[in-house]
Symmetry: C2
């Protein structure tokens, strides 16, 4: 039951702390492998889940069939771009006071996960420039 130190866990922890882009286990594995070439994927998983269970990191599920790990355990929300799939943090108004208005709900709400979906700034710009060039080619055709 006692937690023992391990370089591998330290490396996983250190790496996660440097990232703000919520990497998946596979990405953590690939990156940590640069420092520890024969760390195993299982070890990465075990330690990520351990850190999560200890409440030292968070996880985000955005429906892309892979858990994303988040060094930021403070209350915040996420934004997912449906074009490029990027996952970014959002600070919002204090949602912690939000409560369902449902009168017949008598469970206990402990926390929540709020994920906004849409188009990120970069993809909006790219979309705009694409539309422009499309318009141009249409004009040329007429």
């Amino acid at each position: 039951m006692t937690l023992k130190y391990s370089r591998q866990r330290q490396a996983v922890w250190d790496f996660i702390q440097t990232r703000s882009d919520h990497p998946t286990a596979s990405i953590v594995y690939e990156e940590v492998r640069r420092m520890y070439p024969n760390i195993s994927l299982g070890t990465v998983y075990r330690n990520l889940m351990l850190l999560r269970d200890m409440g030292k990191i968070g996880t985000v599920d955005i429906g892309d069939n892979a858990v994303h790990f988040d060094p930021n355990i403070s209350l915040h929300e996420h934004f997912v771009c449906r074009k490029c799939g990027s996952l970014t943090d959002l600070d919002t108004y204090d949602l912690s006071s939000l409560r369902p208005m449902q009168i017949d709900f008598h469970g206990k709400i402990e926390n929540y996960s709020m994920i906004y979906y849409g188009i990120c700034e970069d993809c909006l710009k790219q979309q705009a420039s694409t539309e422009n060039s499309e318009n141009q080619s249409i004009q040329r055709q007429t």
Copy 2:
């Protein structure tokens, strides 16, 4: 490109409409199989995803490694019990007016997914009764 009628798709649709508990593809498969014993799992997946892409049903991702399908496509939130894993609907205050307060966010938010986690009413009751009997046995020991 034209959508053709199929009994299998109809059956998947009909079944989903009867459920308020957000079944997974496997559950839909098992149930629809009663009517069509040799419908294939792939067909169930294809049609569920098709219906989703058409916007006729919704999907919910609660981090249990399986997509849940939701016949209710109106704006609503979900509650997940961390004891029994049950997934239920919640009506909430109008969250659609909520906007991130982040000044430097210039993307476009199109929709969101709000999932509350906690303990459902049933599990709360069960917990309470368990605590009672624990107290009793402690009292007996003294």
